[in-house]
Amino acid sequence: MAAATEIHTLSKAKLRDMLRQMMLIREFEDKTAEWYARGRIAGFVHLYNGQEANAVGIAAALEPGDVLMSHYRDHGHAIAKGADVKAAMAELFGKSTGLVHGKGGSMHFFDYDNGYWGGYAIVAGQIPLAVGVSFAFQQRKEGHVVAVIMGDAATANGYFHESLNIAKLWNCPCIFIVENNQYGMGTAVKTHSAVQDISAKAAAYDIPAVRVDGMDVMAVYEAMKQAVEYSRSGQGPTFVETVTYRYRGHSMADPVRYREKEEEEQWRHRDPIALFRQRLIEEGVISERTARKMEDDVRREIEEAVRFAEASAAPPLSALYQDVYVDQPEMPNAAILTKDGWTK
């Protein structure tokens, strides 16, 4: 595992903002859990608590125009890439002001302009899509890269194999990131993977890989920075494994019968936010007071987001039939097929 890095490569403002983002994500998740319990948020909801250093470290290494794609555990990813927490919360509430107008919910955040190109709920399904987007960027000579996040368990899927091979063959500017949080649902890495070091899988595609501490935002950032530079320079795809942990169950429905409380406690001792907060204070980047103020601000920001989400209107029923097609087919038989169909 690569060692933690110097913080002074980054400006104080950026460091502060990274901490703030981690706090914001944590607060967003906690409030999401609360409103889920109150029945105002529904569907499958996968929280990011414990993994915040990943999203923030990854997004910090990307430039405007670069794209991030990931899976259903996507709140943190979208927020780190710049998505508005108001629109994000409104999406969870299923409102028309949501990131995708209430069509997607928790698992399907999307923010075109900020370069968060989707949470995908089919495990590993985002991987070939990301290779495709990065291939488009390469062909269009835009100089942008695509970073794609997956879970440890996703690496056992055929899409992983097929996509990494193609990305290397076609020299795509794509950074594959595995947030190894030790489990896929209740299945431990040792039960789903024949190799315990996930980054070792990259060798089968001759893709340079690194494994870093996913509880240390600077370690993630540094690894990503190098990977992004390499991929942007036209040398092809790269691979970053982050070793991390999710504090909560897989989703809100998870009884968590597959792991011990002690294990959870151990990981919580290396809480990524507490660690980074302390480090920034110790190294004089911020004061304890600033840190507290940031915590307060973040709380207010998320409260505001919830108020916004609550106050927003649900999508009109007419939205049901919108955006099925870009070019709505002229249906000679529209009147027939679609008493309750396409053209309504």
């Binding site: 069509k103 698992m107 709920a121 789903h192």
Partner: protein, 326 residues
């Protein structure tokens, strides 16, 4: 008779058959340590252990293929595909392999593998997690496709499945797991390919399968209050399927409506309607009608999703349109 949930009925069937036949084992994603994503297999994991209730990687194509191979090698795998949405990743293994080996190899080998999976919408899971693809499998010679609506049938059909030698898609419904019903005691099986009149009536035939049978039953209750006696036919199997029971009903009622949770275009109801209209043409006072899902990828927002889904009221509305009621 004892009352069991749909979920318990399936667990019971698996347990009883696993005790009877040691070749039977369960494999799938999160069937054991996690307890089963819909908790069907968790107790079996505790009882039979993680060798006979095996967690797999997330690799639907691979595991469906491995299960098929294990069946060819003499085992009786029950392979859980967590939901039918993910079965799209196992289509090749199921359709090009499990469904083919017996015929393609001249009857020299068989593949008695059960693919358990669940469909169903209504829990705000969005476009990729609330689909119903049973029609894809019902289309394929070599497969049998079962879609029980009631606990008793879920148990009887599962037990039957484990005592025959063909590959089976056993398609449950996430919306049914918590429903309750009487389940006969002792050892029993339900025949594959026979529909059941779930409620007798004389004025109109409501045809359905899986969770939509409950919607049909609710509609029938409301209709009864309006003085219309609807007969509800539960298909139970989609391949083979039992046209005769429906046709008998139509001969009596002269009108029929199919209720399905899937998109109507090219769905299960199309086959039922086309066949029944052909066979009962002279008995019909009007065409067989269909009530299905709005033809859109399902949205997350509750009101939108609910608007998209077939409900008892949609059946009532359809009957109004048909002038069966005013």
């Amino acid at each position: 008779m004892p009352v069991r949930t749909y979920l318990e009925a399936i667990t019971d069937a698996l347990r009883e058959e696993m005790n009877r036949d040691e070749r039977i084992f369960i494999m799938g994603e999160d069937v054991c340590a996690y307890g089963g994503s819909y908790a069907v297999t968790g107790r079996l994991c505790d009882e039979f252990g993680s060798e006979r209730v095996r967690d797999t990687p997330i690799a639907e194509g691979g595991i469906a293929g491995v299960a098929t191979g294990a069946a060819m090698g003499g085992m009786r795998p029950v392979c859980e595909i967590m939901t039918i949405n993910f079965a799209l990743l196992a289509m090749d293994a199921i359709i090009n392999h499990a469904a083919k080996v017996h015929y393609m190899f001249g009857g020299k080998v068989k593949a008695p593998v059960i693919f358990r999976t669940a469909g169903g919408a209504g829990a705000q899971l969005g476009a990729t997690h609330a689909q119903n693809f049973e029609v894809y499998f019902a289309h394929v010679p070599g497969l049998k496709v079962l879609t029980p609506a009631f606990p008793a049938d879920a148990k009887g059909l599962m037990k039957m499945s484990l005592r025959q030698d063909d590959p089976i898609l056993f398609i449950e419904s996430t919306g049914l797991y918590r429903t309750r019903g009487e389940v006969p005691e002792g050892d029993f099986t339900t025949p594959i390919g026979s529909a059941r009149v779930a409620r007798p009536g004389k004025d109109i035939t409501l045809i359905s399968y899986s969770r939509m049978v409950l919607v049909a039953m609710q509609a029938a209750e409301q209709l009864a209050k309006m003085g219309v006696e609807a007969e509800v036919v539960d298909l139970r199997s989609l391949r083979p399927w039992d046209a005769e029971t429906i046709i008998e009903s139509i001969k009596k009622t002269n009108r029929g409506v199919i209720i399905e949770e899937d998109w109507q275009s090219y769905g299960v109801g199309a086959e039922i309607a086309a066949t029944v209209m052909r066979e009962a043409f002279d008995y019909l006072d009007g065409p067989i009608e269909r009530v299905g899902l709005a033809e859109v990828p399902l949205p997350y927002a509750r009101d939108l999703e609910q608007a998209a889904m077939p409900k008892p009221q949609d059946v009532i509305n359809k009957l109004r349109e048909m002038r069966v009621i005013r």
